[in-house]
């Protein structure tokens, strides 16, 4: 059943990428049935009524699937609830009297655009560098021509479930994007359709990743923050494939 709780919201405000930011504090009374983002909607409504500009934060599906939302809540990417994106978090996870500190995802690869919104386009650049299987429209054979063992398909799915939110990067002390990259590499490497480009894909995606993000030192914070609970095994799998790729790509281009 719903209750009304009083919380203190300390939220990061920053006008633009080059401005310095700071915290603003707002007391909030809120129903425990509200979602976390609805709490911010209400706060924005109040700010607007008072003639203050609303807080910029991003969301779209509000169902945990599009990856648009994402903020640090009390120092944790997507907040306290496990396997839960910011938009799925509800106020019943908080108690009366709580202080809630809200900040943007902080990572060198994700510059702040405004308030809580950051630029995550480097994740797209990683995909652009090889996160696809080259098959033009109309060129595909019958879908059942190549059976895929059910387990392989299921594991590929576990990796493909990544929503591209960037929480893994934000949670990582090194701002590394290994979990995200390994999810895409793993998804494709597990499927027969992904084999022809497996080694070139792995090498180029890792290289583009490294040009934007820090190095992975196996802290595992990424997995803890990940709303889709992408397994750390995919990082191990990526590392193994990357080493192999280095050798194979050289061999394939005749430079052995």
């Amino acid at each position: 059943m719903s209750d009304i709780i009083s919380v203190t919201v300390k939220v990061w405000r920053q006008d633009g990428p080059d401005s310095s930011g700071g915290f603003e504090t707002h007391p909030q009374q809120i129903s425990t049935d509200a979602s976390f983002l609805e709490m911010l909607d209400l706060l924005n409504e109040q700010l607007n009524d008072r003639g203050e500009e609303p807080i910029v934060f991003e969301s779209d599906c509000r169902e945990g699937i599009c990856g648009t939302c994402g903020v640090m809540i009390n120092g944790r990417a997507h907040g306290p609830q496990k396997a839960t994106a910011t938009c799925q978090l509800h106020m019943r996870e908080f108690a009366d009297g709580d202080e809630i500190v809200i900040e943007p995802f902080r990572a060198a690869g994700f510059p702040v655009i405004r308030d809580l919104a950051v630029d995550r386009s480097p994740l797209d650049h990683i995909i652009e560098s090889g996160g696809y299987i080259s098959v033009g429209s109309g060129a595909a054979p019958d879908a059942n021509l190549t059976p895929v063992p059910r387990d392989a398909a299921e594991q590929a799915f576990d990796a493909a479930a990544c929503i591209g939110c960037g929480a893994c990067v934000a949670a990582c002390p090194n701002s590394a994007a290994q979990l995200f990259t390994s999810a895409k590499v793993g998804h494709m490497a597990l499927l027969p359709q992904g084999q022809p480009e497996r080694w070139s894909r792995t090498e180029s995606m890792v290289e583009v990743m490294e040009s934007y993000f820090g190095s992975c030192t196996n802290h595992g914070e990424c997995h803890e923050a990940c709303p889709k609970e992408i397994s750390l095994d995919f990082i191990a799998y990526l590392n193994r494939d990357y080493v192999k790729a280095k050798v194979k790509n050289r061999a394939l281009s005749g430079q052995r």
Binding site: M1, S2, D15, S31, S35, E38, D41, N44, E45, N48, G51, E53, P54, V56, E58, S59, D60, C61, R62, E63, I65, C66, G67, T68, T84, Q88, H90, I113, R114, A117, S121, D124, I127, E128, G131, Y132, I133, V135, G136, S137, G138, A139, A140, P141, A143, N144, P147, R150, A153, E154, A156, F157, A160, A161, I163, G164, H187, L191, Q193, G194
Partner: protein, 649 residues
């Protein structure tokens, strides 16, 4: 014009340009007769694609592969975020892998019937034909569809279909299909054939001498307003379900791109055809920002009921069996809880309106799994619906294993949209619409798992052919330069609009007005419509719109990320659309699919079509802000499917 009266004098009958011939060969033959653009000439053509959902990403990727120079636009921060990502249930295709009697003809037939005989046969047949290619394409891209133990693709029956033709990827089919199309798109971005513009919102469509020659966009981060020219413009900008404010659509879905095209002359077809999905979680409070869909599959095992007595506030457990009304089972003994979406939705409204609603706000009906759990065991139900039960609990804080779920209908999909011909071209030469943004294939009601099919059919397999036929005739023509007066005027118009919002200085937020508009639309142009309700909407909407334009408060400036400013323009377009929906609903003096006019029902309370007078598409022409739109029609003929009255008793 009075409802049911003869068409206005200047109303015309539209030509869908469907070629002649037997339906089964129409598309094959037509592909052969269309003009082609020679491979080395394709790079001489520039094409703008707005929207990177299933329809837009597949179209942009395919056009890029063919060699056209493509510019793709999305207001999202990445193409992967489009609303398509949220589709859960699956995608239909006439593969007949289960060998249970499916065929292209059956999928065609079911879609025409499901649309309550208000769609264009030729388009639907083509859709059913290419459906099989979509599954091949997606599988080759690495989409991890569900498989059986032999490693082959698995199918299920969806939304009451009598064959298993739905392919699915857990409960995330839309996500996986979109990631497939997105990866194809990013491959073309890497190849340099597609230039991608994220966080760019289309705010105008530009015409020169009656032909679409480009668009104007606003960069949502810098605020810069920019003209873009091309030989053709494709809108793949999704549906308008958020006109109701509360819907299962993503927060940013809106009608602006289609509406701005409409204001430039593109006809808007069947705006009153909207789909209300029966199984969504009811709103919990006034601050509710959107509604969450609970998969339709729950109706396979859940029993829907309300207390027999109005105003009964006891909890479900305290209401004895004899005082429960399983109203769907009572009224439709043959189909029971599995009646189609529109019937289930309307019946929920009837009982709630009569005071039988449950939950703290009395705004839901129970979906009860007690019998299923007792029959099959807790574990079997958890295996079937565990994810959904968890999602329900996360949102409501209630445990559906021990107390029934509460559900209520919500706006979900819009069948109406920009009118397009057989080539998916609007009546404006050079301007195309694909995916949910067009009106084409679903008639008055869309079947489950058919929207993903249509978006990808349009983008991968239809538009890339038909656009060539039109472009071939333009070989050698340069694009209209962006310093042409048609562009400078459009840019100035957009800048004016922006500064108008910022200087209105009213007292209420954009969201406030959107919520109020949504209430009017939901109450009067929702699940059941009456002449009285529609007429009151036609006076309430313009009144609230005036208030909106005079009293909205948009703070901040135009040269930063300003979400209130973005929303202001979108809500303004929703106001105009809502008014047209009411007029369209008023003039369609029949009930069909998602459009239920209480005046037109059978003795049993079912939708009653009027095929003699309304077997047509209504396509509305903009006449300027101060003059009502003109209603044109496209006649629908049914040569391959016999018209019948639906019955689920």
């Amino acid at each position: 014009m009075e409802p049911g009266a003869a068409p206005q004098p200047n109303s015309t009958v539209l030509d869908s340009k469907v070629p002649d011939g037997p339906i089964a060969d129409l598309w094959e033959n037509h592909k052969f007769s269309m003009n082609l653009v020679n491979p080395s000439n394709k790079r001489k053509f520039e094409v703008i694609v707005v929207g990177t959902g299933l329809a837009g990403a597949s179209a942009a990727a395919t056009l890029g592969e063919l060699g056209y120079r493509v510019k793709a636009f999305t207001f999202h921060d990445s193409p992967r975020r489009a609303h398509s990502i949220a589709a859960q249930g699956g995608i239909n295709a006439a593969k007949n892998y289960p060998n249970d009697g499916d065929s292209v003809h059956r999928l065609f037939y079911d879609t025409v019937k499901g649309g309550d005989y208000r769609s264009r046969e030729a388009n639907v047949h083509r859709l059913a034909e290419v459906s099989v290619n979509i599954i091949d394409q997606a599988t080759a891209q690495g989409v991890p569809f569900a498989r059986d133990y032999g490693g082959l693709l698995d199918n299920r029956s969806f939304g009451g279909a009598q064959v298993s033709r739905t392919f699915y990827a857990r409960g995330q089919t839309g996500q996986q299909l979109l990631l497939g199309a997105y990866s194809a798109l990013m491959r073309q971005v890497a190849a340099g054939t597609v230039e991608l513009h994220n966080r760019s919102e289309l705010l105008d469509v530009v015409l020169k001498d009656g032909r679409a020659c480009g668009i104007v966009t606003r960069d949502l981060v810098s605020g810069e307003v920019t003209p873009h020219s091309a030989h053709a413009v494709v809108l793949a900008t999704g549906g308008y379900g958020n006109v109701y404010f509360l819907s299962t659509n993503a927060m940013m879905c809106n009608v602006t791109a289609a509406w701005r095209a409409h204001r430039r002359g593109a006809l808007f077809a069947n705006p009153c055809y909207t789909q209300i999905h029966p199984t969504c979680i009811p709103a919990s409070d006034d601050f509710q920002s959107k509604l969450t869909l609970m998969s339709e599959s729950l109706r396979n095992d859940g029993r829907i009921w309300v207390p027999s007595g109005a105003g009964d506030a006891r909890s479900a457990a305290d209401i004895p069996e004899a005082e429960r009304d399983y109203y769907l089972e009572r009224k439709y003994p043959a189909f029971g809880n599995l009646v189609p979406r529109d019937v289930a939705s309307r019946n929920a409204k009837t009982v709630v309106d009569a005071g039988h609603g449950v939950g703290p706000l009395n705004n839901g009906v129970f979906l009860d799994f007690a019998v299923a759990i007792e029959r099959d065991g807790h574990d079997a139900i958890a295996a079937r619906y565990g994810n959904l039960f968890d999602m329900y609990q996360r949102i409501t804080g209630e445990n559906p294993y021990t107390s029934p779920m509460r559900i209520y209908p919500a706006s979900h999909y819009t069948m109406g949209g920009l009118w397009v011909d057989y080539h998916l071209m609007t009546n404006v030469p050079g301007l195309y619409a694909v995916g949910e943004a067009n009106f084409s294939d679903h008639g008055a009601n869309r079947l489950g798992a058919s929207a993903l099919m249509q978006g990808l059919a349009d983008g991968y397999f239809v538009l890339p052919y038909t656009i060539g036929d039109d472009l071939a005739g333009l070989l050698g023509d340069p694009v209209v330069p962006t310093n042409d007066p048609v562009f400078t005027a459009a840019v100035a118009g957009v800048e004016d609009e922006t500064s108008r919002w910022l200087s209105t200085n009213g007292s209420r937020s954009v969201d406030h007005f959107h919520r109020e508009l949504g209430r009017i639309v939901w109450d009067n142009i929702g699940m059941a419509r009456t002449e009285t309700g529609l007429r009151s909407a036609l006076s309430d909407i313009p009144a609230l719109r005036d208030e909106f334009h005079n009293d909205v408060r948009v703070l901040g400036s135009a040269d930063t990320l300003n979400q209130s400013l973005e929303k202001a323009g979108r809500v303004a377009d929703f106001f105009d659309l809502a008014e047209l929906m009411a007029r369209d609903a008023l003039e369609r003096e029949e009930s069909c699919g998602g459009h239920f006019r209480e005046e037109h029902q059978t003795a049993e309370g079912e939708a009653q079509r009027d095929d003699d007078n309304f077997s047509h598409v209504a396509a509305w022409e903009w006449n300027g802000s101060d003059t009502p739109q003109t209603r044109h029609i496209e006649e629908l003929t049914f040569d391959n499917v016999a018209l019948s009255q639906r019955s689920y008793k």
